[in-house]
């Protein structure tokens, strides 16, 4: 099993989720995060106070998948999250030691296989 961690633009989240759904990837967790990926800084002004916004809002997805699902998952995200500008995000694929499904106590492969 692998854990696919993707960091994408918040405005692209809808398309990413739709693309994952089409790729039949079920079961994921998202967080709203902030980060810096080398994109152009944004200048904002509040009365006399001017600030450079160094961190941009991003969404981080975590998807636990079985091995043969890694490629379709990554492809779905690559296809949907891209705008071509700096700041589109990253995808990390991490090894997973052990997975349990809490409801049934199933382990590993069975635990990341969607209930059908």
């Amino acid at each position: 099993m692998k854990l696919v961690v993707a960091i994408v633009r918040p405005e692209k989240l809808g398309e990413v989720l739709e693309s994952l759904y089409r790729a039949e990837v079920r079961g994921l967790t998202i967080h709203r995060v902030q980060g810096h990926g080398g994109e152009m800084e944004r200048v904002e002004t509040y009365r006399g106070t001017t600030v450079k916004m160094d961190l941009s809002d991003k969404v981080r997805l975590e998807i636990g998948v079985s091995d043969h699902f890694v490629e379709p998952t990554v492809k779905a995200i690559l296809d949907s999250a891209r705008t071509g500008d700096v700041g589109d995000g990253k995808i990390f694929v991490l090894p997973v030691e052990k997975v349990y499904r809490i409801r049934t106590a199933e382990e590993d492969q069975a635990a990341v296989t969607p209930v059908s």
Binding site: R9, E11, K12, G14, E15, Q34, H36, R42, V43, E44, T45, Y46, T49, T50, V51, K52, M53, D54, L55, T83, D85
Partner: protein, 429 residues
């Protein structure tokens, strides 16, 4: 002049002015958080640009003597608008009261074009629209124009304000086209409590709008005031019952919308119909708007905040029913509707609505195309994605401050503006 009338009109003017910030809250709550400031600024900008435009030329084009179609420039720059009486109040106060109507009317249009219009072209559009579309239509109905001569009944602006703004909103939504996410992604209101607060403040301000349109502290104002209480109450009841019967749940956004629809519908009727008729009118007005909202969301028309369904249909129903329900016993003998002996009234009301739609639609189209010659009206796809708050205003509605680095002025004048060094002594005085 009458001091009671002056006192009431001073208060009424302030109440109507408050409706524009209220509208900003109403609209601001309905958009996504990344566009909240831009949406609210679309209303707030009207306070400035339309307000000044009104004083410079708008008032004169609307209420200058002129002809049947347009006022003239004899009152431009408020020339001759002083403290002499206009009715029983100072002329200047009348001009200020009417100014607040121009401001809210233009702000209403913005609901159809939120989340995608660039702010600069919007400012040009709203300034020109306030002068070249609102002022002539106000002249037709209230300034001694041809609709006034025809005998149209528009107590506080059902046609001039609401039908007018809705026709402009429809054209603006079509000219700008739908948002890039429209009908592709769920676009949800980011702050429904704002919207409820906005609806409440609109209702509060609307007492000035309708009862102030009596232009004095008199019986007509009292009737308009009570009708402004009762009609939206009836619309709210019907709206909640429709929600309950259709889905089993009464929605808050629906309640806020129902209040506005009822207020819009009673606007032309406020000082002409009996309180019971106002309840009937408010109840009837709920139906077309309620079902138009449901239908519109399934079309490709991105009238984002449903200006047409709420103000266009509400205003039209109100205008027509004014021609049905007006009663001489209640309006001091001014006019009777179809139910009370003058069936012709309804036709005049319908003519007014049709004329307002045609003129407003044409004028809006021309102004948008004109502004579009000088600058693109739409924000780019990337700007739309990032949100118009950051791209148009360089601010966010909801900042967290994390990752914000202070940009210090450079070079800093010696010893000025630098924070005092922190030390044990500081604060010991």
């Amino acid at each position: 002049m009458n001091n009671a009338d002056i006192a009431w009109m001073l208060v009424a003017t302030a109440l109507v002015l408050l409706m524009t910030p209220a509208l900003a809250l109403f609209y601001g709550g309905l958009v996504r958080s990344k566009n909240s400031l831009n949406t609210m600024m679309m209303s707030f900008a009207s306070l400035g640009f339309v307000g000044v435009g009104w004083a410079l030329v708008g008032y004169s084009l609307a209420f200058g003597p002129g002809n049947l179609w347009l006022g003239d420039l004899s009152r431009a720059m408020l020339r001759g608008v002083g403290l002499e009486p206009s009715g029983s109040i100072p002329h200047l106060l009348f001009a200020a009261f009417q100014c607040t109507f121009a401001i809210i009317t233009v702000a209403l249009i913005s609901g159809a074009i939120v989340e995608r219009m660039r702010f600069g072209p919007y400012l040009a559009f709203l300034t020109l629209w306030g002068i070249f579309v609102y002022a002539p239509l106000a002249h037709w109905v209230w300034g001694g124009g041809w609709l006034a001569k025809l005998g149209i009944l528009d107590f506080a602006g059902g046609t001039v304000v609401h039908v007018n703004a809705a026709a402009a909103a429809l054209v603006a939504a079509l000219v700008l086209g739908p948002r890039k996410d429209f009908a592709r992604q769920a676009i949800l209101p980011h702050n429904v409590p704002f919207t409820l607060l906005g609806a409440g403040l609109l209702w509060f301000g609307w007492f000035g709008f309708n009862a102030g349109s009596a232009l004095g502290a008199n019986a007509s104002a009292a009737l308009a005031f009570c009708n402004t209480m009762l009609a939206p109450a009836a619309t709210l009841v019907v709206w909640i019952l429709l929600d309950l019967s259709r889905t089993g749940r009464a929605t808050a956004v629906g309640a806020a919308t129902g209040i506005v629809v009822g207020l819009v519908a009673v606007t032309p009727a406020a000082g002409y119909v009996s309180p019971l008729s106002a309840i009937l009118l408010g109840a009837v007005a709920a139906f077309p708007s309620y079902f138009a909202l449901l239908w519109r969301a399934r079309t490709r028309l991105d009238d984002s905040l449903d200006v047409v369904a709420a103000h266009g249909l509400g205003g039209t129903v109100g205008a027509l029913l004014t021609g049905v329900l007006a009663e001489r016993a209640w309006n001091g003998g001014a006019a009777a509707g179809a139910l009370f002996g003058e069936p012709r009234r309804v036709l005049v009301q319908a003519a007014g609505v049709v004329a307002a739609i045609a003129f407003s639609a044409g004028g809006t189209f021309a102004i948008l195309k004109l502004v579009g010659l000088f600058a693109p009206l739409r924000a780019g796809v990337r700007e739309e994605g990032l949100g118009l708050d950051v791209t148009q205003h360089g601010e966010e509605g909801y900042t967290r401050g994390e990752g914000a680095i202070l940009v210090l002025p450079d070079p800093a004048p010696a010893g000025v503006g630098l924070p005092a060094p922190l030390s044990a002594e500081s604060g010991s005085a």
